[in-house]
Subunit: 583 residues, 2 copies
């Protein structure tokens, strides 16, 4: 039982049969065809030789098949993680050097260890601190940066940097060196890819091609563009005309090995590895959950961390770079009918085969084709509508989107996402430090108490009912003190103050001291302090404190009971008073 | 009106009369006598020449009298800020150098500018993030460090460092060089000061000395000890016997000047200045508010920031170092009857006079006397009872105290307090990311709904009422989704889910997306989603969103009304069904 939760393969493996095998094989073939050009292109985006992208699409898929819980998730190199890899590794080594490649391997290794540890320690909740606005702003900015970074590849000029200012400056500086053959190949590839995506299916349908076949042709389209531009490269001898080609690459699959351990490199890569891990996990888990929901399956976030961790460790051992679950490929995998994680393992076999067959021919592939593949892939990431939706809903959420978007564009991926997370947490803390509070009164005909400013309610003279809409903790403890004391000062003749605690989910020690101070001040003024609707967990904590022992008023189950009790006490004291005076 | 709020002196100055003048003068004399030895000692603690402590007790008091709002607060050098100054300045210059003194001046200047800016920008709430447990742990740890740092002064040996490991190591390393004359003078001063504090009053009373006179003698006690040890120093020629004396100091008051601006120094001091500012402000405002409450006066936190800012700028101009409102001296000032901030200005005149008169004689004062003064002053800071109280109340608060205490002792003041603040915020975020939630039912005979696990309540079959005890935001949005979906899965046959939002104080965009996802999942299962007790501010935000427009259920004012409405709809559908089937 326990073993099964760490090795989901033991669970679905027992139920494996001929039908699931067929489904998985079909899905694997389609995803393999789709992954080949993407893997080559994303490796290039990460500043690595294209074959590294293929390496990163073999072992990680096998590892995920063993440890992952999603039947449809397809892991491998993705656009955003590739950009982040380039940004992180580019700081410690020059592109094209051995150090660069081994730093990328180390990045995958660190990221894998971190993800696996987070999974084993059940720290999946950490990913929740990447809010939706932050993720949206970050993905959109990354898409823009990636598309811009490919302009160089499409024009045959050199560009530098992983944030907009550097990229734009280097494009402007080198715009004179445009290679027109490269531009032509790039434009052709871009146009073909666009046409394949938008029109090919309808066009094939017009020729009576069955829908199933058409779908497969569309998905194979990018591979066809790769072959076409390879052919053009040979026939027109593009290499001699200054078009950048992929060039000779080592044949076959790489030897399995562990990354070289260098403390200085590890220190520099630790923070980027953590950010890539969390961003990759969030991207992956959202896809996995979306697809699981469609099949009424459940995803275990902590086991997914272990699955992705194993994939990244496998990527490092197999000479790759950081991988995660990709959106587009997972949807394709799902649509193609992948029934179990085994589909991923079959895809791995497909990619391994393709790597053995393809590498000899990659030398003649124009890099512009891969640039075009990337541009088309990332344009779907860019979504400015989040800005308007956030603006309409709340200015705080808008600020989080805008800070992340601008931070990422102008200062780079790591700074951008850190600023976004920091800003969202600060906004949350600021708000909770200045909580909303309301004076409440009884909604006529009910036992319900609401804000006197928003509702037509009845209040009892001499009794102040305050509802504080926040947990009471250090950041708002002083605020609470000021609030109550000011309200009491503004309402002379009070006999009772009732703090309605329906929205108070916790009271920490600082807040308890503030409550004691409030109680003390009210006692000096001869005003009793009551609490109402104190929740179980809060009451558990207060029980046995001096505050509760010495409370001048009482703790009432509901606010209505508090009001009834106060009215009752009044009635009795008014009845008693003449007698007492008489004796 | 506006001017008066920035210059409180314009307000109380107009009401100034002979009576307040007399009160202020009496208080000023008593505080002056108390401040002289303290100022000398704290400057030494800060690694500065003793006369700097006197300089820091002149202009800052005048500045506070103009800008401050507390009638009793006495500003000047304090123990904790002196330790923090030593820690910050010690990193960039060696004690006794000109650079050291000018860095201390720059620290006061930066701190002053920061405080004043925070006041003008109304950022006083930032101080609330120093929770009570963090402050307590920090002050206790500082007291221990300060007392330990004075052991060297009492034994006549050299010590180094501003955290316990370094201090203890250097005491152990140098313990062989104890100067027995220094030890004797130190022990004498310590014993006398202790006796003065604990017994002198009773002793004088036994001799029939009136209480008022006795109080003044007790407060003048430390000055008497200073004079006594000075006399011993001369008669026994202690300087020649290896006892460290204060030595020659420049006579008179320093020239007014601005600190030397050096960008590198400013960069290194910026963070320590911010921490000193916030810690000093928290210390000061707690004293001011405690004393104001006794006189039913109000303190304006943001104006206090301006007052302390002006004091620190004045400290820099007058050749001092960071100052803040001190606890002991403010209480003395209060008890002595200080009626307005003018008492501080008179104290400043007193200290200035003393500086002119005293400096020639300071040369013969043994440093051990000042060390004894410090030890006695800081022992009142040490309070371990907070550990037990925090442990009893909540483990999270205990963790905050323990982390701050140990962090400060072992890693130094700045790291210690930063760790404490960081830990308290993380605990708060972690808790709010894993909120408490309850299935609720009706308390019989009331319209009140409570946790089914804690109360004897009635529930309606087919209806699930969930109360989530936290604002819904990015950190717990996914948690909410899991919670509701799991609950629905565990309760087959549901027709309605009601989210009771009495404890939901905000819903951010990430949580809204989760609500939409929940709504979608429930709709797939044919379950209606309702909300109840949604607060005004939350409703304002939800109004106009697609979520509310398409909600399968309704938003009800109270949870009871939600239940009535659901029962009503059921009744009507059951009544209608036979008819509908009939047609």
């Amino acid at each position: 039982m326990h073993l099964k939760s760490y090795f989901p393969i033991l669970d679905w493996g027992r139920r494996y049969n001929r039908q699931t095998l067929t489904s998985d094989l079909v899905a694997a073939i389609i995803v393999t065809i789709m992954l080949i050009p993407q893997s080559l292109a994303y490796a290039l985006l990460a500043g690595l030789p294209p074959e590294v992208g293929l390496y990163a699409s073999v072992l990680p898929l096998v590892a995920y098949a063993i440890f992952g819980t999603s039947s449809a998730l397809a892991v491998g190199p993705v656009a955003v993680a590739s950009l982040m890899t380039a940004a992180a590794v580019g700081r410690i080594a020059a592109e094209g050097t051995v150090d660069y490649a081994s730093a990328a391997i180390m990045l995958a290794f660190l990221s894998g260890i971190m993800l696996a540890l987070m999974g084993l320690l059940r720290l999946g909740f950490v990913a929740n601190f990447l809010s939706h606005p932050v993720i949206s702003g970050f993905i959109t900015a990354s898409g823009i940066i990636i598309a811009t970074s490919q302009i160089g590849g499409l024009l045959g000029i050199k560009t530098e940097g992983h944030a907009m200012p550097d990229l734009i400056m280097s494009i402007i500086a080198n715009i004179g060196q445009v290679n027109w053959y490269t531009l032509a190949i790039g434009a052709l590839a871009l146009a073909l890819l666009l046409w394949i995506r938008l029109d090919l299916k309808n066009w094939l349908a017009r020729f009576g091609v069955p829908k199933g076949v058409a779908t497969i042709v569309v998905r194979a389209g990018p591979v066809l563009v790769v072959f076409l531009t390879m052919a053009l490269s040979v026939f027109l001898d593009l290499g001699a005309r200054g078009v950048a080609l992929v060039g000779d690459v080592p044949q076959g699959l790489p030897m399995l090995s562990l990354p070289a351990f260098d403390i200085a490199v590890i220190q520099q890569l630790a923070m980027p590895a953590l950010i890539i891990s969390i961003v990759g996990f969030v991207e992956s888990i959202s896809v996995a959950q979306t697809l699981a929901a469609k099949r009424r399956e459940r995803i275990s976030p902590n086991q997914e961390l272990i699955g992705l961790g194993a994939s990244n460790i496998a990527a490092a051992i197999g000479g790759g770079y950081p991988v995660t679950g990709g959106f587009a490929r997972s949807v394709v995998n799902f649509d193609a009918g992948a029934a179990t994680p085994a589909a991923g393992a079959f895809t791995a076999i497909g990619i391994a085969g393709a790597t053995l067959l393809l590498t000899p021919f990659l030398a003649i592939l124009p890099k512009a084709t891969l640039a075009a593949t990337i541009v088309l892939a990332v344009l779907t990431l860019v979504d400015f509508s989040i800005l308007k939706r956030a603006w309409d809903y709340s200015k705080a959420d808008f600020a989080a989107v805008a800070i992340t978007l601008l931070g990422t564009l102008l200062l780079g991926v790591e700074v951008g996402i850190s600023l976004g997370v920091g800003a969202s947490i600060l906004v949350f803390l600021y708000r909770s430090s200045q909580p909303h509070a309301a004076i409440v009164g009884q909604v006529p005909g009910t036992e319900h108490y609401r804000n006197v400013k928003r509702h037509q309610v009845d209040t009892m003279p001499g009794v102040l009912s305050i509802r504080v809409d926040e947990s009471l903790y250090f950041a708002n403890a002083r605020y609470l003190e000021d609030l109550v004391i000011n309200q009491v000062a503004a309402n002379p003749g009070l006999t009772d103050v009732v703090l309605m605690c329906s929205a108070v989910n916790a009271i920490d020690m600082s807040a308890l001291e503030s409550l004691e101070a409030i109680h003390h001040r009210l006692a000096d003024l001869g005003v009793r302090l009551h609490l109402s609707e104190v929740k179980g967990p809060v009451m558990d904590r207060l029980a046995g404190t001096e505050f509760l022992d010495h409370l001048s008023g009482q703790v009432h189950l509901s606010h209505h009971q508090a009001m009834l009790a106060i009215a009752d006490v009044r009635l009795r004291t008014t009845e008693l008073r003449p007698e007492q005076t008489g004796t």
